[in-house]
Each structure stands twice: as structure tokens, then as C-alpha cells.
């Protein structure tokens, strides 16, 4: 353990990983309660388009991913609110469209390489000092926004129409939520990978929901599950040279199974 933490790249990975665990689990609570779980997958695939553009054009893929994920989040909200389209259908269309676009860009730009692999599945080796600074600064701002509006987002998750009639700016807050989620996903793909970040956002909350607690306890449980999964997952990733995203997701899945068994055996 001491040896592992003596490496700078592992320190970077752990700092970034823990911040991402906090961001993904807190935002994931709102996403799951809004029945919006698929949005994380869709935005992760949209972020991949940004990564592809970044890799091909030479711009920092992380920043381009943030921009593309944000644009995609706004497009989802626009399509959902302006047209008579089912939300899940909108998400499915954008998910496959984004993936197709990312593959075409990467293929045309000749960027099918290890670097792309690390964005797909996460790699602790790829987290640089600059990445950590971006994740800390942008992540803190995103978390502050979520916490500032947490009581409104909770009300909206419970009953959107009653929240609206009580004077809460539902459209604005939906917009803020998807924007923050887009940013968090784009920030997370270094560590967890674009194909697996959805799991870190959704599974800790679904596991926490098995314990049938109030909002505060459910959020804290989800946060704990995400932190534990990141810690164990990254350690396993270091010890066995495995992609960090996959090991983190397997850990969080394990906690989900334990939560399910524990709470079903109580009944």
C-alpha cells in the first residue's frame, strides 16, 4: 500500500478517483431518482466524440469532451421539452449516434490506439497532474452547484409538477442538473472510462436504495459505496495491471449484490 502511494501517478489517480466518486455518487442520486439513469450512458458516449475530436485535432481531449458532453446534454433537454419524443428514445438515439460519430472520427484520423483505449475503459496511468487540477477545480464547482440546489432537485425528483407549482424553476434546474452531469462524466472518463462511468453514477445509488433510508442517509450510503469501490478498484488495478474503470465497476457491482442480498434476507 505504502509503495503504491509513493508513486506520483497513483497519488494523482487516487485524488482524481475520490473526487470522481463523490461527484458521480451525489449527482447519480438525483439522476436515478429522476429516472434518468440512461442519461449518464448517453453523455459518456457523447463525451467520447469529444475525446475523438481531441485526439485527432491535438486539443486536450478532456476539455473537448466537456464541451461536447455539455452540448449533448442541452440537446437532450431541448428535444425532451420541445418535441413529443419519449425520453428513453431520445437517449438511445443520441447514444448510438454519438458512438457512430466517435468511431468515424477516430477511424478517419487514424487514432485507434492505446490512448483511445484508456479513454474507453479508464487508466490510472493516464491521470496527469494537470488532469487532477482540472478535476479538482471543475469538480468542486459542479459539486457546489449540486449542493446549492439539492433540496430543489430532490423536490423535483419526487414530484416535478408540484415543485413547479410551488415556484421552483424546474426547467432551469433540469438544465443545470444535466449540465453538471455532463461535466462530471467528461471529467471521469480518464479514471473510469467512457463506457463504464454510467455504472459508477447509477449503481451506488441503486445499492443505497436497497437499505430504504431517507434522502440524506441514501446519499451518504451511495457516497460511501462509490468511495470504497474506487479505493478497492484502483488498488486492484495497480496490483494486477487491469483497466481501472473495469475494476472499479466490478467492485461497485459487488457492493450492489451484497446490498441486495442483505436487504432481501431481512424480508
Amino acid at each position: 500500500m505504502t509503495e503504491m502511494l509513493s508513486y506520483e501517478f497513483m497519488q494523482n489517480a487516487f485524488i482524481a478517483g475520490f473526487i470522481i466518486a463523490i461527484l458521480a455518487s451525489v449527482s447519480g442520486t438525483f439522476v436515478v431518482l429522476r429516472r434518468y439513469s440512461m442519461i449518464s450512458e448517453t453523455l459518456a458516449h457523447s463525451a467520447l466524440v469529444g475525446v475523438a475530436v481531441g485526439l485527432v485535432s491535438g486539443y486536450n481531449p478532456l476539455w473537448v469532451a466537456v464541451v461536447v458532453a455539455l452540448l449533448s446534454a442541452w440537446l437532450i433537454e431541448y428535444l425532451r421539452s420541445s418535441f413529443a419524443l419519449y425520453s428513453d428514445a431520445v437517449l438511445a438515439i443520441l447514444l448510438s449516434g454519438s458512438l457512430a460519430l466517435a468511431v468515424i472520427i477516430v477511424s478517419l484520423g487514424g487514432a485507434f490506439n492505446n490512448s483511445l483505449f484508456s479513454y474507453l475503459f479508464g487508466s490510472i496511468l493516464s491521470v496527469s497532474k494537470e488532469d487532477v487540477i482540472v478535476i479538482v477545480v471543475v469538480g468542486s464547482a459542479s459539486l457546489a452547484l449540486l449542493l446549492a440546489y439539492s433540496k430543489e432537485l430532490y423536490f423535483i425528483a419526487y414530484d416535478e409538477e408540484v415543485a413547479q407549482t410551488s415556484g421552483i424553476q424546474v426547467k432551469l434546474l433540469n438544465f443545470i442538473l444535466v449540465s453538471v452531469v455532463a461535466v462530471i462524466i467528461a471529467l471521469s472518463i480518464r479514471v473510469v472510462g467512457s463506457l463504464l462511468i454510467g455504472a459508477l453514477m447509477v449503481i451506488p445509488t441503486v445499492s443505497a436504495l436497497q437499505f430504504k433510508q431517507g434522502f440524506k442517509n441514501t446519499t451518504l450510503l451511495a457516497l460511501s459505496f462509490a468511495l470504497v469501490s474506487v479505493a478497492f478498484g484502483m488498488t486492484l488495478s495497480y496490483e494486477y495491471s487491469l483497466p481501472s474503470g473495469a475494476t472499479i465497476v466490478l467492485c461497485v457491482l459487488m457492493l450492489f449484490v451484497i446490498s441486495l442480498v442483505l436487504n432481501n434476507s431481512k424480508r
Binding site: 431518482l33 449542493l147 446549492a148 440546489y149 433540496k151 430543489e152 430532490y154 423536490f155 425528483a157 419526487y158 414530484d159 409538477e161 408540484v162 415543485a163 413547479q164 407549482t165 410551488s166 415556484g167 421552483i168 443505497a208 436504495l209 430504504k212 433510508q213 431517507g214 434522502f215 442517509n217 441514501t218
Partner: protein
């Protein structure tokens, strides 16, 4: 004096879905302090009218004013408490205690990052006492009966200390004892606290003594200024489109 300040003013309101007219030429006023009941057959447009008053649906044509302002310019929505029809049908897995739900009533009055003030806590506590759910405050909402959930939803609306309370068939699935207690509470809120009440119901006989006016809605509106006299079998038949009979409730003397 009661009944002088208009809260809602609706003029020539129409609402169409495709080629079908749901509400036709509705004009009405709801004044401060009134107790108004709305009745009508299912699909007659009662809930649609309420949704438009609350800005949830846009009318095809016509004008809605709230506290003298056009609906799209009205900002003080925290003056209005709303209990929707489906309030008791909650997601049983939603992570919320009764206290969490009633706290939501204070959400729009609290600032960013702010926790519940002593005043907020008092109002939430009072609302739970009024609706007799204080003893349930730590229970998960999903574990309550339909009637208990309904009382929690009304407590949430009361926690916002509204000037007007709009309830869309709040007694669906609630037992008779709870209903009678609920009607007594509505009377008290209206008479003692001067809260304006707009109430969609099918159970008009029980509260006919208390209501100031009765709106009957079946695409069009008929406003009855003396509900007790107006509730003839002929009127009911006309409204509901088939033979209807009033069953007199002797306990309530009508």
C-alpha cells in the same frame, strides 16, 4: 372583509386537444377567503382547469390572471399550495421519510445552501400536527397507507403556509373517518385562517354547508352561488348526462 380581492380571474378560456374541445369559454373569479368546490363528470375538464390555473398546461385561448398579474408574469407561486389527484400514488422505493416530504413545503422559501430555520421547522411541525402525521415523521413514505400518504401530501402543502390551497380529489382512497376529519380541517383552515380553498370533489353533499360557491364543469362551467339550493337532481342529471340522485346525509343535515 372577505371575498373582495380576486386571486384568480379567468376570461373566455378555451382548451383544445387536437380537434377536441376540452374546456369551452370558461370565465370565473376566485376571491380571497372563498371556499369553492368543483364538481363534474370524469373527463369533464376539472383537472385540466386546475392545471391551467397553476400554469402546468397552456390554454388554447383566453386569459388567466393571478393576484392581478398575467399568469406568465406571476412569480409568487409559494402563495399557492397544491395537492394533485395522484398524490397518494407515490413510488414506494423513493428515499423519503414523512419529515423529508413535509420539509419540501418549505423548499421555495429557503435560500441556497440554507438549512431549515427554526421558523421553517415550526411550520413543518404545525402542518404535521394538523394532518395528524407527526407520529409518522420518521417512517418511509412508501410504507404508509394511501390515506396516510394523502395526509402527508396535504401537510406538505400546508407547510408552505399558502394563501390558497388547491386540492384535486384529495380523498381518493381515504377512509370515511379520515375524510370527516379532513373536511373539518378544511373548514377550519378556511374560517379560522382565511385560507382560500379550491377543491375538486365528487363528495359535494358533505361540505355543501361550508362552500361559498360551486363550479360545475363538463366542458362548460356553471357557477352556483348557493350550492345547497342548486343541487337538484335535474341539475346533477344535466351535468353528469344521466339520471343522478342526491343521497342526503342526515348526519350533516342535508
Amino acid at each position: 372583509m372577505k371575498f373582495h380581492v380576486p386571486i384568480f380571474e379567468v376570461k373566455n378560456l378555451n382548451f383544445d386537444v387536437g380537434t377536441q374541445r376540452i374546456l369551452s369559454n370558461i370565465s370565473l373569479e376566485i376571491l380571497k377567503g372563498e371556499f369553492i368546490a368543483i364538481i363534474g363528470p370524469n373527463g369533464g375538464g376539472k383537472t385540466t382547469l386546475i392545471r391551467m390555473l397553476l400554469g402546468l398546461d397552456k390554454p388554447t385561448s383566453g386569459e388567466i390572471m393571478i393576484y392581478g398579474k398575467k399568469l406568465n408574469r406571476f412569480k409568487k407561486w409559494d402563495k399557492i399550495g397544491f395537492v394533485p389527484q395522484r398524490a397518494s400514488h407515490v413510488d414506494s422505493n423513493f428515499p423519503a421519510t414523512v419529515q423529508d416530504i413535509v420539509n419540501m413545503g418549505r423548499t421555495s422559501k429557503r435560500g441556497l445552501f440554507s438549512s431549515m430555520s427554526t421558523h421553517d421547522k415550526e411550520l413543518v411541525n404545525d402542518a404535521m400536527i394538523k394532518m395528524d402525521v407527526l407520529n409518522l415523521k420518521d417512517k418511509m413514505i412508501g410504507t404508509l397507507s394511501g390515506g396516510q400518504r394523502q395526509r402527508v401530501m396535504i401537510a406538505r402543502a400546508l407547510a408552505s403556509s399558502p394563501e390558497i390551497l388547491i386540492l384535486d380529489e384529495p380523498n381518493t382512497g381515504v377512509d370515511v373517518v379520515s375524510q370527516n376529519r379532513f373536511y373539518a380541517l378544511l373548514r377550519s383552515l378556511n374560517k379560522d385562517e382565511n385560507i382560500t380553498i379550491v377543491f375538486i370533489t365528487h363528495d359535494i353533499g358533505v361540505i355543501a354547508d361550508d362552500i361559498a360557491r360551486l363550479f360545475t364543469i363538463n366542458q362548460k362551467i356553471t357557477i352556483c352561488n348557493n350550492p345547497k339550493q342548486t343541487l337538484s337532481c335535474e341539475d346533477m342529471s344535466l351535468l353528469y348526462g344521466f339520471d343522478a340522485h342526491l343521497i342526503h346525509n342526515h348526519k350533516h343535515d342535508h
